[in-house]
């Protein structure tokens, strides 16, 4: 019960729970429609989904300020690539929340002449940019970790080997792997397999990075579908949204799983 009380006290966790239920409703609505369910059940599910969406917009009313604060903090990072990716991602998120607030005001009737479709597309565009930058940051971190791993592996193997015929996957002295035109394809396959091995190793040893990568990959399908760039349908969007919400709830429950910075 203690953990629920702590979880409930943060408004971000409530928003994530609402998001999980909202995308469950999307997925449920799609499955029920395909299965030919009763229309009043479909109406109830759709009503719940739109209520959750509007309430989440209400709950997110102050989030632009939060995103701007996060961007201000990210400007002081030492690594230049990380600094660029994270700061611009937060700025895009701030713009996304600002568009979201306008949509809430429009749905409330506070701004009756607002073009909801235009602002909705605008908000999804900012969301997509933010996600692309987050994925670029993930790719950069993975690349750095893979390079570090391969360097440390070659250093340790180089210090242990005493003869040039010792098989070392990353050492270029191995006679079998001498580049020649007739054996280039198997060499490429071996190289790709090694890289995948290294990738799996890096991701297994860095659960926060893996979680963040999966979350961003799931999330990216939502704006891609809504903007019409890669239409997948409500079922896939609902499943991806639910998966990413569950992963972010995990990072709230276990703060060590949150990727830092």
């Amino acid at each position: 019960m203690e953990s629920w009380v702590r979880f409930n006290a943060q408004s971000q966790s409530k928003e994530r729970l609402c998001r999980a239920v909202q995308y469950t409703c999307t997925l449920l609505g799609y499955t029920l429609q395909k299965g030919g369910a009763a229309s009043n059940l479909l109406t109830t599910v759709k009503q719940l989904e739109s209520h959750l969406s509007l309430s989440r917009k209400l709950l997110r009313l102050g989030n632009s300020a939060e995103a701007l604060e996060a961007a201000k903090r990210a400007v002081h990072l030492s690594d230049s690539v990380l600094r660029l990716c994270i700061t611009v991602a937060h700025l895009n998120r701030a713009m996304y929340f600002a568009c979201d607030n306008m949509l809430w005001a429009g749905k409330m009737g506070l701004l009756p002449r607002l073009d909801q479709n235009k602002w909705s597309l605008r908000s999804f565009r900012y969301y997509l940019f933010a996600l692309i930058l987050n994925l670029a940051r993930d790719a950069y971190e993975i690349r750095m970790l893979m390079e570090r791993e391969s360097r440390s592996a070659s250093l340790s193997k180089g210090s242990l080997s005493s003869s040039p015929t010792t098989l070392s996957p990353l050492s270029p002295e191995n006679g079998d792997l001498c580049p020649s035109p007739s054996t280039s394809l198997p060499q490429v396959t071996v190289h790709v397999r090694k890289q995948l091995h290294l990738l799996a190793f890096v991701l297994r040893n860095n659960p926060p990075l893996l979680l963040d990568l999966l979350k961003n990959l799931c999330d990216v399908f939502i704006p891609l579908d809504r903007l019409g760039l890669y239409p997948t349908g409500n079922g896939w969007v609902g499943a991806c949204g639910l998966a990413s919400s569950v992963l972010s709830i995990l990072t709230i429950l276990h703060p060590w799983l949150k990727l830092k910075p």
Binding site: M1, W4, S11, K14, Q47
Partner: protein
């Protein structure tokens, strides 16, 4: 901006802001009710108020567990009066949240065949009971502070000085009343969290009193009282020293 972000990160902080907005809309609607030229504004206020209310009902969905946890903790308090008041207050609040959740489900359409009026009435009664228990606790805390203060030598000197210096006729005619009021004010000044909680509960009390028909006022009074109590609640979340303990 940092403090705003920290404040809104807490779920209770956001809820207080929404509550303040909700009651501000109710008050504004009451004040503008006779202006026929402002019909569009009135309908906007109505929509904003109902959206805030339904959003808050959604966000309160898990609060039953919170209240049960608070009741469990208050059972372990050493002072019997505090233990009784707070346990009953938290228990009735958790039942109020259950009624609130059922009403939310009805408004969404998840549950259809329930008597909305019955659930509404019982929710208001349980809320009223929790407010009354909180007020009894406030009165008990104030009386404890007053008893402790009256035994304090430094205070007694101040009181004698005040009684001797005061030129009011009333003070001369009813010195005991004046001494009591002075003791009360000094006690409240020494512990502002109790004063804040008392005023907040008193303001909140008008809302169920009006709905249950015990002391009917009007939408303007309930709106104003709700707004004041929400603002005091925001103050107590922003400054944790002003939050009454336990």
């Amino acid at each position: 901006m940092e403090s705003f972000v920290k404040f809104t990160n807490q779920s209770q902080g956001r809820d207080r802001i929404f509550r303040a907005t909700q009651y501000a809309c109710a008050l504004a609607r009451y004040l503008l009710r006779n202006e026929s030229s402002r019909k569009a504004l009135l309908s906007k206020l109505q929509r904003l108020e109902s959206n805030m209310s339904s959003g808050r009902k959604l966000f309160r969905l898990g609060n039953t567990v919170n209240s049960i946890d608070a009741a469990k903790r208050s059972i372990q308090l050493s002072e019997p009066a505090l233990c009784l008041c707070l346990s009953v207050a938290h228990a009735s609040r958790s039942l109020y949240f259950i009624c609130d959740n059922v009403l939310w489900a009805k408004s969404i359409g998840l549950i259809r065949n329930i008597d909305k009026e019955w659930w509404n009435l019982n929710a208001t009664r349980l809320y009223f009971l929790s407010l009354v228990m909180n007020l009894i606790r406030d009165v008990y805390s104030i009386s404890q502070i007053m008893m402790k203060m009256s035994r304090d030598r430094g205070y007694r000197q101040k009181a004698i000085q005040h009684l001797n210096e005061s030129p009011d006729v009333a003070c001369a005619v009813v010195p005991e009343l004046d001494a009591f009021v002075y003791l009360l004010l000094e006690s409240l000044k020494s512990d502002p969290s109790v004063a804040l909680d008392t005023v907040k509960n008193l303001c909140d009390l008008f809302i169920p009193l009006d709905r249950l028909g015990i002391y009917q006022t009007n939408a303007g009074v309930t709106g104003l009282c709700g707004l004041v109590s929400s603002l005091l609640g925001i103050l107590s979340v922003m400054k944790p020293s002003l939050k009454i303990k336990p």
